[in-house]
């Protein structure tokens, strides 16, 4: 009953970025042109609660729910915050996932079984527009959002013009035409910092795989190769064979959603997961990166092999890498949303 209620909330919007849609522009740098339309700066409300709401920091508001309840207009905003979270997040039920432990990832090879508790996952990856609020709020200078080991490197996390922000932005602004595209050119640390700033977190690798493979606890022991089923369908995701050649808006490819309407788990952009990446060759020898790697999952618009854009495929990226094809989405514990569980 609860599941039906929650899943039915997330009726996807009409698909706007289908395969036949007009090609979205690549970031100006990737095109080798100077064409760039800077996104306008958003005016922020002077009222602290409204400002937090405007910035999309819903979990930060809810962390101090008791405090804000007595704030002028607080009750109404709190209600709106919960409604927004219900709209933006989807419940992923409990289940078990098997994480392949070898590079070949062959079926029947060694796997690590992980139990996943139910949790809430953002229906869409974080967009440029949403990430802009973090940049505008001085998120890159807010040391509370960053682990101490990264502080010396914060100065390197610049855009093309030397301003703090994702690698392909300019003057701290995203390209206005890409506002609803997933933010890319962010390292694992930037993804994590954004999660902390809005009061959420990155999903673990097991959670991500649970959401994509939908291996829920039920009498039917089903595991999906893709969020929509077991067969690849390039009209349902944005990978190399889909021929878009760049990112699509986060609302595109709604037909490729998981049963709970979480979109684009496969394709469009690789998504950072919380875990460090570890894998071995078939002889059990560790395979490592030049420096620490974190897990990325799901494949991207430029993923060439269909086998590398599935619910199961595990790979990693250097934690400080800021590739053109990697973004993220956030998650939260179900326990942090008691109004959803009726608690």
């Amino acid at each position: 009953m609860l599941l039906t209620k929650i899943f039915s909330r997330h009726k996807p919007k009409p698909q706007t970025g289908k395969r036949s849609d007009k090609k979205a522009p690549l970031p100006a740098s990737a095109m080798g042109t100077d064409e760039f339309v800077p996104a306008p700066r958003e005016a922020l409300d002077a009222d602290p609660l409204r400002r937090l709401y405007q910035q999309g920091r819903f979990n930060v508001i809810l962390n101090d729910e008791a405090l804000w309840r007595s704030h002028p207009g607080g009750a109404a905003i709190l209600q709106e915050v919960k409604k927004e979270l219900e709209q933006r997040m989807a419940l992923v039920p409990a289940g078990t996932v098997g994480l392949p432990q070898t590079l070949s990832g062959q079926p029947g090879g060694p796997e690590k079984e992980v139990e996943v508790a139910p949790f809430l996952l953002c229906c869409h990856p974080v967009t440029n527009a949403r990430y802009q609020r973090f940049v505008d709020a001085g998120g890159y200078d807010d040391l509370d959002c960053w682990p101490e080991e990264i502080w010396p490197h914060l100065i390197e996390l610049k855009d093309l013009t030397g301003h703090p922000g994702p690698r392909f932005w300019r003057n701290g602004r995203h390209d206005a035409r890409m506002a609803d595209h997933p933010v890319v050119g962010v390292s694992w640390y930037e993804a994590q910092a954004y999660g902390i700033w809005i009061g959420q977190r990155l999903p673990t690798e097991a959670e991500w795989q649970m959401a994509a493979s939908w291996h829920i606890k039920s009498s039917a022991d089903l595991m999906r190769r893709f969020p929509w089923g077991d067969s690849l369908d390039i009209t349902r995701c944005n990978i190399w064979s889909s021929r878009l050649g760049t990112t699509a808006p986060v609302t595109a490819y709604a037909k490729g959603s998981a049963p709970n309407h979480v979109t684009q788990l496969v394709g469009n952009v690789w998504e950072w997961a919380d875990d460090e990446f570890g894998v071995t060759d078939d002889a059990g020898r560790a395979i490592v990166g030049e420096v620490a790697m974190h897990v990325v999952r799901g494949g991207a618009f430029d993923t060439y092999f269909e086998t590398q854009a599935t619910s199961f495929f595990r790979t990693g990226q250097l934690a400080l890498a800021r590739p053109l094809n990697t973004g993220f989405r956030c998650a939260m514990d179900l326990g942090d949303a008691p109004w959803i569980t009726g608690g």
Partner: protein, 295 residues
């Protein structure tokens, strides 16, 4: 009717497309340069002259992976190309590269022995009415063999023949190594171009007409390569930049990468083995399209 006393008819022979050696028609490979005779027979059967496009560069720069990936992308109609392999042997190179990359391994190094090289003969055209059809011959040459021929000309006669007949060249330079400050890519490219100068007997001040696409390979390691390949080359490969300017009429700089993320393991002898964790080709088609536009 023939009788036992009549002399046998002389065996028909065929000149090799690459080195012009006369070969018996039934030969499988050229007796001199080891180019597949099937390639020569196919070329003879066409009305058009085949174009040789060479992919050249130092050892370990990624020539095999680049070429295999390019051929596979062409087969998948990337950028609206139609590509038809002329003979099963032409598919072996891309098959080898794609099988390894999809299994998250790099293909083995190309053997130095010429008879082990893989050759591709593809008919390539844009998928539009009236588009020009190109018959492209592209061998996968071993970097060590190129280096040996450059160091001691005529060690590998086939390389010299290929250079002489090449309608266009894609010169791969290790962008990652250059970005790390190594002078090796710059010096090797300098040697290679000076060798080409010698092969084509250019006089001082005379520029080479063959279009040359200089591709900064492994550019995933140095994102600056993608942002402005020309500027990157001018800054990090200045010797190469200068000689290109002096010796080539048509040249352009590009950046390319095949691997989206790289991991490292070891083998049983503790040698470091790189693994392509996932594949995300970038900048593969552009140099090829540019060379084609100049043919």
């Amino acid at each position: 009717m023939t009788t036992a006393t009549e002399p046998m008819r002389p065996m028909t022979s065929m000149p090799c497309l690459i080195c012009e050696t006369q070969n018996p028609a039934e030969s499988l490979v050229c007796t001199n340069c080891f180019a597949p005779m099937a390639l020569i027979q196919e070329a003879v059967a066409q009305d058009r002259d085949p174009c040789i496009v060479t992919v050249i560069g130092d050892s370990n720069v990624g020539k095999t992976v680049y070429l295999g990936m390019l051929l596979d992308m062409l087969s998948k109609r990337a950028d609206d190309f139609d590509a038809l392999p002329k003979g099963a042997y032409s598919v072996n190179l891309q098959h080898n590269v794609i099988s390894h990359l999809s299994a998250r391994q790099f293909p083995p190094k190309t053997a130095m022995e010429v008879d082990q090289w893989l050759w591709a003969y593809y008919q390539v055209a844009r998928r539009k009415r009236g588009a020009r059809i190109y018959d492209l011959v592209m061998p996968d040459m071993a970097g060590e063999a190129i280096a040996a021929e450059v160091a001691t000309p005529r060690t590998f006669a086939v390389i010299r023949s290929l250079m002489e007949k090449s309608a266009g060249a894609i010169l791969l330079v290790d962008g990652a190594l250059a970005a790390a400050g190594s002078p090796q890519p710059d010096f090797f490219a300098l040697k290679l171009i000076s060798y080409m100068d010698g092969v084509l007997a250019l006089k001082h001040g005379e520029k080479l007409d063959t279009p040359v696409a200089v591709v900064l390979s492994k550019a995933d390691h140095c994102p600056d390569c993608f942002e402005n390949p020309r500027l990157f080359a001018q800054t990090n490969l200045n010797r190469l930049w200068n000689i290109c300017e002096t010796r080539f009429r048509h040249y352009e700089f590009f950046a390319a990468s095949v691997v989206g993320s790289l991991g490292y393991g070891t083998d049983e002898y503790n040698n470091v083995i790189p693994y392509p964790l996932h594949v995300a080709p970038r900048g593969i088609m552009e140099p090829f399209e540019w060379v084609l536009s100049k043919l």
